[in-house]
Symmetry: C2
Subunit: 105 residues, 2 copies
């Protein structure tokens, strides 16, 4: 069953196009993550937070990612990391145009 | 700029296939929501919460939806509704396979 993760953590930036430059290599690395269907990169410069919403093909690959990405963020000096995991209701999500699979993954 | 919303609220169910039956009409209604690109329906029967992650084409349609959907949920007797809004970093998200648009919307 597809599994969704919401990550949020404090961030003073970069945001927007500056982030797109700074994190391009990281995004390319995440694109190859086992089990990943997609990630949406999220940010709120006013609240000073950043994060991401991830869809994984199953709970095992999602759980592995939470552990690995939390360690990676901590390695960047980031604390107060929130990672919330949900089961996905695939039938209702498909009715609302959600993309739940990716060719070759 | 695409805008993402994370809704979460307490729920004792239905979940899974029972929810898919109970909320089919609501999902079809949400599918026509102005500005909606997609919604992923989320649930956690263990924590007893449900919700959704929504991508909207811009902050105005997202904001309108938060107000309307909060009223709708309250009409169902749901309280303790959390709705968190984020800006989307479209360039980084596209690198990670995210679908950020929908034909005709």
């Amino acid at each position: 069953m597809a599994t969704l993760i919401v990550f949020e953590f404090p961030s003073t930036g970069p945001f927007g196009s500056e982030a797109a430059g700074a994190y391009r290599d990281l995004a390319n690395d995440i694109a190859e993550q086992t089990g990943l269907i997609w990630k949406v990169w999220t940010e709120d410069p006013v609240r000073q937070v950043a994060g991401g919403v991830y869809l994984f093909r199953d709970s095992a690959t999602a759980s592995d990612y939470v552990a690995m990405h939390t360690r990676r963020l901590e390695g960047f000096g980031i604390t107060d990391i929130s990672a919330t995991t949900y089961e996905v209701n695939e039938e209702l999500s498909r009715a609302d145009h959600a993309v739940l699979s990716r060719p070759g993954n």
